[in-house]
């Protein structure tokens, strides 16, 4: 219903106050968005840049957007096709989507999921058991994948833009800090320029 106007508002918000470590932009169509999430510090995804595809359904916001990873990621709740197992991405009663959420909050949730996998609700059983019972191996694999697929060299250009954006947002950090995952992303910002 309100998709168009709502999306317009959300996009302008995302442009002016992106959550730390997250960027999102329109990909041609109004309903086709792209996003990048920076891997959090102290996670095996650190220094990785993960691209996501966001398809906004016609019925948005009464239906959640469809979000998937374009960048391969080694994660118990994200499968090889990039699909994400996350409750807020699904409609109730199975899921927890509600129209008061938005793309920004969803991306933040995904960022958090990356930092805190949920092995009890696995999408990738083997990765999940590895995460549970052989964490070292999991970390190793995840890092390897991050380096291989989400290395910064591959994504350097967009990254720069992102960094700029996230730096501009630093000034607003005080307001943003309340959000979950802020800590991670703040660290990220620091780390990003280094690289």
């Amino acid at each position: 219903m309100q998709r168009a106007s709502r999306l317009a508002r959300e996009l302008s918000l995302l442009a002016t106050e992106p959550p730390p470590g997250i960027t999102c932009w329109q990909n041609g169509q109004l309903d086709d968005l792209r996003a990048q999430i920076l891997g959090g510090v102290d996670t095996p995804y650190e220094k990785g840049i993960f691209n996501l595809e966001i398809i906004v359904p016609e019925r948005y916001p009464f239906e959640p957007p469809k979000i998937r990873f374009l960048t391969p990621i080694y994660h118990p709740n994200i499968d090889s096709a990039g699909r994400i197992c996350l409750d807020v991405l699904k409609l109730p009663p199975k899921g927890a989507w509600r129209p008061s959420l938005n793309i920004s909050t969803l991306l933040t949730s995904i960022q958090l999921l990356m930092a805190e996998p949920n092995p009890d609700d696995p999408l990738m059983a083997n990765i999940s058991s590895e995460y549970k019972y052989n964490k070292q191996l999991f970390l190793l694999n995840a890092r390897e994948w991050t380096e291989k697929y989400a290395g910064q060299l591959r994504a350097s250009k967009p990254l720069e833009e992102k960094i700029i954006q996230s730096e501009t947002s630093t000034s607003r950090e005080s307001t943003i800090q309340k959000r979950k995952g802020v800590d991670i992303s703040r660290k990220e910002k620091k780390s990003c320029p280094d690289s």
Binding site: A4, W25, N27, L30, Q36, N51, A96, R98, P158
Partner: protein, 595 residues
């Protein structure tokens, strides 16, 4: 990454054009909200319930206004539609396919038809909501009791008409003079038929079986004729029906609602078949007949009925008017079956506080509700079917689905197939299996029995039986009863193809079973509503992320969260929790309450 680069540039390039179109859209949205805000509550409901609001930004205000006027003028239009209805009726009668009919309905929107036969007059009204894909038939039959004979017919009729899928609404013409609107086909038949019927009835009086046999030939003729000369058919079919009717009803009375008792059903069933079979297919008769003989009870019942029914029983026991109300609704993605059922219940309740029986069944994703009520001589049947058709179009019909649909539709068309549901709730699966084969009425004794079991069910069952017979003979020619037959027959004959179109007609729903439960319109309307005033500081509707402006209508949920009416209503129609706090909007437990 690369893709992102290009996409960035792309978006920039496109931004100009997009910006313009988005601006236009925003303007329209603005107009939309303005429009909604200016609507009176009644108008708002009217438009919302008819799905006329559409999507903000896609519809211009003028269009909205036009729609509103259209809706408001709706009722008168329907009347004026009668002429059209007549035409369409003809189509129906001629075009043997229910789907054709559906299509015509879809095109014309609303249709009203009426006709008369013998003492009874009928009127069918169908309404289709082009936006939602829902459609509804109501069929009302009035019987003139001056003739004792007619009574049975009336009852028969209902069964027939329902089969068409239309509900009979008030047709109250007592005289045998066909209404101007009544389809040409029927008219010729009606007079004759009445006369013939009389004879037939008399003949039939001795026993249902005899009647059946004697008439079976007639039916064939009728079929052969394929014309509209239905009089013979009518007579034939009716007579058998009557017999059914009587039998079934009586049996029913005795065993009334003996759902639990399989035996009673079977008997009834058998009896019904006999009559039915006799009427339609002689060959089958042999088979069928044998069983009946074995069972004395049914026969006796039948005989008693025949005598009693036509003469004495009818006036007192049978309501002069029968109203069938059939609704087929497409289930929207978010809609929950539970909710549907609630709505139905509410509806039926409100219609008839007394003597209401509601039955609800769910099978293979369908939810169907059937209720019957009797009051002040008017018998009302309400049947609502929710069909979440999933991926039928794309995927093709999965066996189960198509079967289930077929069954349901067939039953609908047949008229009171529901009754059988009544009986069978548990054995649904069985019936389904059997039904798809349609032709096998014989094989489906249960269904027949089911019909019989309900007092009123008799009608239904008879309808079904007939169908079976017709089908067996594979004649679609039998029209007059034909309506019943037609519906079912068509389906069967047409096979899956028609179903496809039917499915299309109902529209598809891709969503899965596990869908959120929404609230009914009534429930939503019960929530507090107010106008936004400037004094209310702050606040943005969290659904559309738009700040409230003066005059906006807000809905306040029990948890005190507020939203734009049009925003929250849509969410609540598919969900039952507050978008902000996720608290249930309704006190739990209400949902399950039945009748």
């Amino acid at each position: 990454m690369e893709s992102s680069d290009s996409s960035d540039k792309g978006s920039i390039d496109q931004s100009e054009a997009q910006r313009q179109s988005q601006l236009d859209r925003l303007d329209r949205e603005e107009a939309f909200y303005q429009f909604v805000n200016n609507l009176s509550e009644e108008d708002y409901r009217l438009m919302r319930d008819n799905n006329l609001l559409g999507t903000p930004g896609e519809i211009t205000e003028e269009e909205l206004l036009r729609r509103l006027h259209q809706v408001k003028e709706g009722p008168p239009q329907q009347n004026s539609d009668e002429n059209r209805g007549a035409e369409s009726a003809e189509d129906v009668s001629n075009g043997d396919s229910i789907i054709d009919w559906l299509n015509s309905v879809r095109q014309t929107g609303n249709t009203t038809r009426s006709g008369q036969r013998g003492n009874q007059s009928w009127r069918a009204v169908s309404r289709t909501n082009p936006n939602s894909g829902d459609f509804r038939f109501s069929l009302e039959i009035n019987v003139n009791r001056n003739n004792g004979n007619t009574n049975p017919e009336t009852e028969n009729e209902p069964s027939v008409e329902p089969s068409n899928g239309e509900d009979l609404e008030n047709s109250q013409s007592d005289s045998e003079i066909p209404r101007s609107e009544s389809p040409s086909v029927r008219q010729p038949g009606s007079e004759r038929s009445s006369a013939e019927e009389l004879t037939a009835e008399e003949a039939s009086l001795p026993r249902g079986q005899r009647r059946a046999r004697s008439r079976s030939p007639e039916q064939r003729r009728t079929r052969a004729r394929t014309d509209r000369s239905r009089s013979p058919i009518n007579a034939v079919s009716e007579a058998p029906r009557r017999s059914h009717h009587n039998t079934s009803s009586q049996t029913l009375d005795h065993s009334s609602a003996g759902e639990a008792e399989g035996s009673s059903r079977t008997r009834q069933h058998v009896t019904l078949r006999q009559h039915m079979v006799g009427t339609e297919v002689p060959s089958e008769n042999a088979v069928l007949f044998s069983p009946p003989e074995t069972r004395p009870a049914p026969q006796a019942a039948g005989s008693s009925e025949t005598t009693g029914t036509s003469e004495s029983t009818a006036p007192g026991q049978r309501p002069p008017t029968i109203v069938l109300d059939l609704q087929v609704r497409r289930v929207r993605p978010g809609e929950y079956r539970q909710r549907d059922s609630i709505a139905n219940r509410t509806r039926s309740r409100s219609q008839t506080p007394n003597n209401t029986v509601t039955y609800e069944s769910e099978r293979g994703g369908f939810r169907r509700t059937f209720s019957r009520s009797e009051r002040a001589g008017v018998r009302t049947y309400v049947s609502t079917i929710r069909i979440p058709i999933r991926r039928i179009l794309n995927t093709g019909l999965s066996e189960t689905t198509s079967v289930a649909i077929q069954t349901m539709l067939r039953q609908i068309m047949t008229g009171f197939g529901e009754l059988s549901y009544f009986m069978y709730s548990d054995s649904d699966a069985d019936s389904t299996g059997a039904t798809p084969s349609h032709n096998v009425e014989t094989s489906e004794p249960q269904s027949g029995g089911g019909g019989a079991s309900g007092n009123e069910n008799a009608d239904v069952s008879s309808g079904e039986v007939y169908e079976g017979g017709h089908e067996a003979s594979s004649t679609s020619g039998a029209r007059r009863e034909g309506r019943n037959t037609r519906g079912s027959v068509t389906f069967e004959e047409s096979g899956s193809l028609p179903f496809l179109s039917l499915a299309q007609f109902f529209l598809l729903n891709e969503d899965d079973d596990d869908q959120p439960r929404g609230l009914t319109k009534e429930q939503i309307d019960n929530l507090a509503m107010r106008n936004f005033g400037e004094s209310d500081a702050l606040k943005t509707c969290s659904v559309c992320i738009t700040e409230y402006t003066e005059g906006n209508k807000l809905r306040k949920l029990p948890c005190s969260h507020e939203y734009h009416v049009h925003c929250i209503d849509r969410w609540l129609s598919e969900n039952s929790t507050c978008p902000i706090c996720r608290r249930a909007v309704l006190a739990s437990g209400n949902r399950e309450s039945v009748v």
